[in-house]
Symmetry: C2
Subunit: 193 residues, 2 copies
DNA sequence: TTAGCATGTAAGTAATTACTTGCATGAAAG
DNA sequence: CTTTCATGCAAGTAATTACTTACATGCTAA
C-alpha cells in the first residue's frame, strides 16, 4: 500500500522532471524531492537511476493503446469518422505527452522508448490504410496512395499536438476542437470522390 | 582566420551534441573533443557553457528565414503553390533540424530558443492567411477558417518533418517528395471551391 | 627578427552527482 | 508484544563537471 504509493509517486515525479529537463538534468535528488521521499528510498526501490527509467518505460508499455479504440464507432461517414479518430488521436497523445517528450529527448540514451513511441504511428497507419481501402471499395473516397494519406492524417494530428503541447496558445488561441474540426473537414473533403 | 574556424567548429560540435543528448549531457569536454580543440579553448572563446549556447542562438537568429521566400514563385494555382511552399517548408525545417531539437529539449533552460522557434510558425501562418484570403477573393478556394487552414498545413508539414527527422524511414519508406505531393494534393483538394 | 595572439598542455579546485552504509523510527501483521 | 518492513536521517565516497591558472609553443604580421 504505502510501498506502491511511494514507488508510484517517484515514477510520477521522474516522469515529469525527465520530460521537462531531460534524463541527465533530472537529478535523483530533485526527483526524490518532488516525490516527497528521501533520496535513498529511490535507490531502494529501483536500484539505480536507469532502473527508474526502466520502470517508466514498463509502465508505458501497459498503457492502453489507441489502436483498438479506432475501429469502434465507425460510421463509414468519412468526415465524421476522421474527426472522431483525430480527436481521439490528439487526446491520446496529450495523455502520454510526457512519454512522447522523453522519447524525443532520450532517443540516444534510451532507444527502447523511441521504439515504443515509433510503434504508435506504425500501428495507427495500418488501421487507417485498412479503413481507407474499405471506404474506397464503398465508393466513398477516391483513389489515392492510401499509405501517404494515412501518414498525412497522422502527421496533421501530431503537428497540432506538438504545437499545443510545447507552444500552447502562442501560435494560435483557436479552441483545439474547432481547429481539429476545420483541419479534418479540409482533409476529408480532399479525399472524397 | 584560424580563430573563426575554431569558434565555428566548436559551435558546430556543440550544436550537434546538445541537439542529440541535451544541454546537460553534452559536456564541455565532449564538445571540445568533437570539435578537435582543447577544452580550455572553448572557455577562452565563449567564457562559459551558457555563453556557448548563447552563440548558437545568436547564429540562428541570423539564419535566413523561410518567410520572405514564400511569396516568391506564386502562381495562384493552389496545388502548385502549396506544394512549392510545403517542399520549402519541409527542407527549411530539415536544415535547422538541430536548432528545432534543442528548442524542444531545452525549452526550460533556454526559453529564448523556444521563442525563436515558436516565431517560425507564427510568421508563416500570417503569410499563409494572406495568401488564402487572396485566393478566396479570386474565387479559387472556398470559405473556411483561414487561420485554421494555415495552421493545418503547417502542422501537416511539421508532422512529416518530425516523423522523418526523428524516426527516419521506420514509419514509412515512401520518398519524401512523393509523400508531400500526395499530402498537399489531398489538402488543396479540400480547399478548392 | 620580433612582438603578439591563438592555441595546447598540465595541474588543480570547488561543486555536484549517483550511489552506499549504518542506524533510528514507526506502523502493521503475526 | 514482538517481529518485520518500509522509510527517514546522517555521513561518506568515487567520479565527473564546469571552470581556472600558469606556462609552453608556434604562426602571423609588422
Amino acid at each position: 500500500m504505502t510501498t506502491k504509493g511511494t514507488a508510484e509517486r517517484i515514477i510520477e515525479a521522474a516522469l515529469q522532471l525527465v520530460s521537462e529537463k531531460g534524463y541527465t538534468a533530472a537529478t535523483t535528488k530533485s526527483i526524490a524531492e518532488l516525490a516527497g521521499v528521501n533520496e535513498v528510498t529511490l535507490f531502494r526501490h529501483f536500484g539505480n537511476k536507469r532502473g527508474l527509467l526502466k520502470a517508466i518505460i514498463e509502465q508505458f508499455s501497459y498503457y492502453p493503446l489507441l489502436q483498438q479504440e479506432i475501429n469502434q464507432n465507425v460510421t463509414w461517414e468519412l468526415e465524421q469518422d476522421l474527426l472522431n479518430f483525430s480527436l481521439k488521436h490528439f487526446h491520446f497523445l496529450m495523455s502520454i505527452k510526457d512519454f512522447v517528450m522523453i522519447g524525443f529527448k532520450e532517443s540516444i540514451q534510451f532507444p527502447e522508448i523511441s521504439e515504443e513511441i515509433a510503434n504508435i504511428p506504425l500501428l495507427i497507419k495500418k488501421e487507417l490504410i485498412v479503413y481507407f481501402q474499405e471506404m474506397h471499395q464503398r465508393g466513398k473516397i477516391r483513389e489515392v496512395d492510401f499509405e501517404a494519406a494515412a501518414l498525412s492524417l497522422i502527421a496533421l494530428n501530431f503537428g497540432h499536438f506538438m504545437s499545443r503541447a510545447r507552444l500552447g496558445t502562442i501560435v494560435s488561441d483557436l479552441p483545439t476542437e474547432e481547429l481539429l474540426q476545420t483541419s479534418v473537414a479540409i482533409f476529408s473533403r480532399g479525399l472524397v470522390s
